[in-house]
């Protein structure tokens, strides 16, 4: 049975952009939602999304000495995960184009297409956001401010019978 009280709690993490922290956060969130949702698959999807969002934030954050903020809260039958990080204007423009692409069709088709494109070029995979949309069935939202981005992954959850 799901523990509704845990879900209603607000989770907020502020952390330095250090790569080794990502695996710690992923495992913590997987455990947190495994308890809260009693749904291993959903817990793994949400923790995967946290990991991919934090990876993006660390790779593309504009300042090394900044801190990242991860916030998870519940709104009705949705879990909303937000990651905020500073970003330079060129990076913000890349993210806007990325969001337009990944939200423009069937997630699996886009995921396959992005894989094929990424295989042809070197550098970063740029698969993380579409992976969240495909693998977790999450809705993704981008809010940009001056030199800062906020990416939200929104997960539908089922009410306990």
């Amino acid at each position: 049975m799901r523990d509704a009280a845990l879900l209603d709690n607000y989770l907020e993490l502020r952390l330095e952009p250090r790569w080794p922290y990502i695996a710690c956060v992923r495992k913590f969130i997987a455990g947190f939602f495994l308890i809260g949702l009693s749904d291993k698959e959903r817990a793994e999807q949400i923790s995967m999304a946290a990991s991919e969002l934090l990876e993006n934030a660390i790779k593309y954050a504009s300042e090394d000495d900044t801190r990242l903020r991860l916030e998870i809260k519940r709104r009705g039958n949705e879990i909303i995960m937000k990651v905020e990080n500073p970003a330079d204007p060129p990076q913000i423009n890349i993210l806007r184009r990325e969001f337009a692409l990944i939200n423009a069709g069937d997630p699996e088709e886009i995921y396959l297409r992005r894989m094929e494109e990424a295989a042809k070029i070197g550098g970063q995979s740029r698969l993380g956001l579409i992976r969240i949309r495909f693998e977790a069935g999450a809705r993704l939202e981008l809010i940009t401010r001056e030199r800062e981005v906020e990416i939200s992954a929104i997960f539908a959850i089922e009410e306990a019978p």
Binding site: A23, E108, M115, E116, R131
Partner: protein
């Protein structure tokens, strides 16, 4: 006849081992892939393995992911690159064995197979 030694590696939390069984090469991954740039190690590994497999006339590579707890998208890209390379000049098959109880495997392994349906087969768990 000299038997080729297929390399095994262990780096940043992931272990990859390879052992030949007749015309098949069994490759097993375990641990997690969540390094910042796993391609530095894994792209080089898959390229070397691909070359050795072609040279030695191996007909099938059986990739067992069941003990791989998690793989980030950069790690997945290393598999995508390997599969794309085999697809461009198919001389052997890749069979992927996975654990459908691990969500990342249940969702990603079928997509990897769709990249190259004539080359990649998903083994029934």
């Amino acid at each position: 006849m000299t038997e080729t030694h297929f390399a095994s590696i262990e780096s940043d939390g992931v272990k990859v081992s390879a052992a030949r069984d007749g015309s098949r090469l069994d490759v097993r991954m375990s641990g997690t892939v969540e390094a910042r740039d796993p391609g530095v190690v894994l792209d080089a590994y898959w390229i070397g393995l691909d070359q050795a497999v072609r040279r030695e006339g191996v007909r099938e590579v059986a990739l067992d992911l069941a003990a791989l707890d998690y793989m980030n998208s950069s790690g997945l890209l290393t598999l995508v690159r390997w599969i794309t390379r085999v697809k461009s000049d198919p001389q052997y098959q890749i069979t992927i064995r996975h654990d459908p109880n691990l969500t990342w495997q249940k969702t990603n392994v079928p997509v990897l197979a769709k990249l190259a349906p004539a080359v990649v087969r998903v083994a029934t768990p």
